[in-house]
Subunit: 275 residues, 2 copies
């Protein structure tokens, strides 16, 4: 049975690519991850990482990924061109472009690296939060499709319309248990998508949503494959914050923790907003 | 008098580019910013940003920059190729490659955006620290050349050989007043370089320096040109931390604050280390 027939999860469908030439892959947007005016950025990040992982010359696992959202991705098919820029002993550097009808919509750089055991030290720690099963799941009924592809259990900072306020903005910190919906064993592709699941911070602090768009997203994958396998289908803990909204842009930092306290990934993005 | 003759600061010499064709620029490494086995990564980030700023189609100011250090940059001349990937109403997306003898050593993506005044909110705050003039400057005598191009005034986390320890590693947090040496008015190019001035974190926590190399660096520029002009030649406050060293890589987060408490830039990198 082909991979196509067994990969029934909506994420696997969204990142499904057909080889179309040397380093060239064809995919298509799926309604399951639709956002307001295009696919959920995390699904785009995931498909670009998948293209690197599918490349026959790829060795090792993802270490870093930067996605630049240059323009809207339209509903329908897209091409993904993958180029191995530099093949080093310890890392490979990749450049990826997603285009539609010859126009580049998204660019991506990625670094893969050999799995190694080294000295380790973890000064960072996750916040103390209740267990996922003790936190209510957010109702995503009637909202943009991609929100229904995740189970969000907000411990702190659930974005609510009418919450926060322009005059007295709320904190931008959020602590959220999150997993794919339906459940799916964790891998790097899912982690790339999870890195962009921190719902519009301006909604969290102001209680309304002006036009917003992620401009650039960088994720560092700090866990090995074994740690992702151990995590399996259980929710990961997302910790996110913003330092400043100013001049029409805001930063956003995020950490994704396993439920036994290992840092799986850190992710940062800069977001454009209007008004 | 030409810009070449007036630009005497070592940073301006390091980022000096000659136009050599459409989007093509020629530069050269300078001994003043030499690191262990190549130029200081911040100088490379600065020259790649300078190439974007020099491009005749560039509008607006830098918003985001990601630099991927694919391979060593050798002493001597290099080519910088700048490509405008997507020219949008509110942002421009750029792709940049630094090569030597036809081999790509560094890739870079950058986003520029029009200056805008919008609603603003700054939940982040700098740590409370003594004023720069009340903190002793680090002695950089006899160390890699680039360290002498900055004045470091460590409030916390000065990296010291024999400090920290493999058995009981120190915290990775650092608070540092920092400025160009000799002093130079702050601009985006200088800020891009400053984003990489957080001296090897593994030295800070372990007290020794195994082979290390920044793999990928992403900086978001959150201040407008007026804020940089206000800051002038006074030291900025650098706040930096690491969450985890594991599997031969560590993350590193950094914030650069003006001395009146405005966040000028945030920067993140992933660092490869041996052992």
């Amino acid at each position: 049975m082909s991979e196509t027939l067994t990969a029934h999860h909506p994420l696997d469908q969204a990142v499904h690519l057909e080889a179309a030439g040397p380093g060239l892959y064809r995919g298509a947007t799926t309604p399951e991850y639709w956002n307001m005016a295009g696919p959920f950025g995390g699904a785009t990040a995931a498909v670009l990482l998948k293209a690197v992982l599918d490349h026959p010359e790829r060795r090792g696992r993802p270490v870093a990924q930067t996605v630049n959202f240059c323009g809207a991705v339209a509903e329908g098919p897209f091409d993904v061109q993958v180029r191995l820029v530099r093949d080093g002993r310890s890392t490979q550097h990749w450049q990826v472009e997603l285009s539609q009808e010859g126009k580049i919509a998204t660019t991506c750089s990625a670094v893969t690296g050999a799995e190694r055991e080294t000295w380790s030290h973890a000064p960072g720690a996750p916040p103390k939060v209740p267990r996922a099963e003790d936190v209510a799941a957010m109702d995503t009924t009637g909202r943009n499709a991609w929100l229904g592809r995740y189970e969000f259990r907000y411990v702190r900072g659930e974005p609510v319309r009418g919450g926060g306020g322009v005059e007295a903005p709320a904190s931008a910190v959020s602590h959220t248990w999150i997993r794919d919906q339906p459940a799916r064993p964790l891998d790097y592709v899912a982690l790339a998508a999870l890195s962009d699941t921190f719902v519009v911070k301006i909604l969290q602090v102001r209680g309304d949503v002006p036009p917003v768009a992620t401009v650039s997203l960088s994720t560092y994958f700090l866990a090995d494959e074994a740690a992702l396998t151990r995590q399996g289908v259980r929710p990961v803990l997302g910790v996110s914050d913003v330092r400043v909204f100013r001049h029409g842009f805001n930063d956003q930092s995020a950490e994704l923790w396993s439920d036994d306290g290992e840092l799986l990934a850190v992710s940062n993005q800069v977001v454009w907003f209007k008004a």
